[in-house]
Amino acid sequence: MDNVMFLTVRNNEGALERLLRVTRHRGFAIDSLLVQNGRDPSLYEVTLRLSSERDHDNLQKQLAKLVDVVAVQAMAAQPLLRSAV
């Protein structure tokens, strides 16, 4: 099932690598990736569109465990949303 994850991530060395690694290792393919600086330069915002046979709840909890991840929200990818991410 396709899902979209919205993450707020600390701008630390290796932070993006960490979350991409967890995503791959836990069995999710990344269909699109958007990384943007937020208003606060110490944080950035990541939007991931994912596909997998696995339950996205587990991935959400695994990503939330990363020290660099401040917040993570997930939702099913609606057709309307796909064009946005």
């Binding site: 060395e13 290796g14 690598e17 960490r18 690694r21 290792h25 909890k61 465990k65």
Partner: protein, 552 residues
Amino acid sequence: MNGAQALCKALEAEGVEIIFGYPGGAIMPVYDALLDSTLQHILCRHEQGAALAADGYARASGRLGVCMATSGPGATNLITGIANAYMDSVPMLAITGQVANPLIGTDAFQEVDVFGMTLPIVKHSFLVRDVNELPRIVHEACQIAMSGRPGPVLIDIPKDVQNAICTAELAMPKAERVGELDRAGIHQARALISSAQKPLLYVGGGVVLGNASKALREFVDATQIPLVSTLKGLGAVSFEHPLNLGMLGMHGTKAANFAVQRSDLLIVVGARFDDRATGKLAAFAPHARVIHLDIDEAEFDKLRHAQISLRGDLKRLLPALAVPSHCEPWRAQCLADKAAFAFRYDAPGTGIYAPGLLAALSRQADENTYVSCDVGQHQMWVAQHYGFRAPRQHLSSGGLGTMGYGLPAAIGAQLGCPDARVICVSGDGSFQMNLQELATINRYKLPVKIVLFDNQALGMVRQWQQLFFAGRYSEIDLSDNPDFVALAKAFGIPAVRIDSRSHQDEAIRLLLETEGPLLLHVVIDPKENVWPLVAPGKANDDMMEGEGAWTT
């Protein structure tokens, strides 16, 4: 003060007393600073030994284990030990030297991207770019390693950072926030426990790591619910407790596996449904509803859906759930199974029966005895037959299954618990993976005892080839083993060889009465197998057994 000195000061401020390590080019400023610090450095003979010793230190003492190595091969040699700590949630700080900042990314001498290489096996990691960040990073690293679900943290420190002048102050500790418990979930869980007819506790290593053994024992005594334990949960409740049915899973007891399969409520305490514990997951505890207690929310519903998931400190959760159970017939059935399927030690023959020796050893050893083991048949025999009475006394590489763990872990445990008796139970295969650490035992005059079971084979692989590969034996023969007694003596460690059951009692007495280190080389039957065994892909109540009646 330079970065290396600031590192030592910051570690001292965190209460670190011992570092296991090995020097080299990119970490030399730190080794220079160590000379003026209160930190005791233990020189291991291989960086993997240092990392595994730090792991053993942490598991046995409950404190942070610290290991250190240089860049390049020093750092890569730590990796197995870091992975071992990650898989078993052991609090560890790994410090590596790195080539100077301007050289990073130039393929410099002894440069590897250890920060990148260890991303999958650390709870968190830091590459220190600015010396003034060092005190804060050390503090954060120690906090992260020890808090919540513990784990290893890496700090990679370029050599120029070690030499640069540091003007930053020591970081101040922040109070840890204590979360609220889920009161509605607790209310529901109490109702489930109270109404269950066949409730069972499934106890994991989280109880030990969370220092919740006392809370668990009180819960068991209050509810009178029987319990089974994972490999890492052994000792959380004494094996002598009447309601302890023993280990579940692939080499679990019949009583434990039958109880899980028949239960109608599984209360999972600090365990994670590991495949070695569950067997065929779809057939695991098929009639049970699940209450899952853990500090790590990511374990909930990962492998098995829980009707109720409660995240938090087990020391707080367990008392909140202690309600009387109403399961007398079930308890009686569990206890009857426990008695009917108890292990027997009257194996025929005159050779040494390893399970019997371990059972005898545990009967005679005092309560302040720690046992480390390696990986393979002897590891399962320790779990099955050595009776653990207290938490932290069973040091076993559960998640990663690291051959070569036992000897360095025993070194770490002995240094973490200087007044304890520490016994390393090993096999002839595993022992040769880190036997260089005999030199560390000799250097620091550590009274570590070693029981080396020698079946002249890689026994567990041989067992699987016998059972699952039609007896086609491939690369398991170790019949040309070295003379282990001579080997130990070459390292200055006394050693004795026994090969007959008639020598067993005297050997155990010698082992327990010798003040310094001793290696007991125990020759056993190469054909002996570990029973019972749940074959891969089978349900836990489908247990294979050997031909001997003594295995029940």
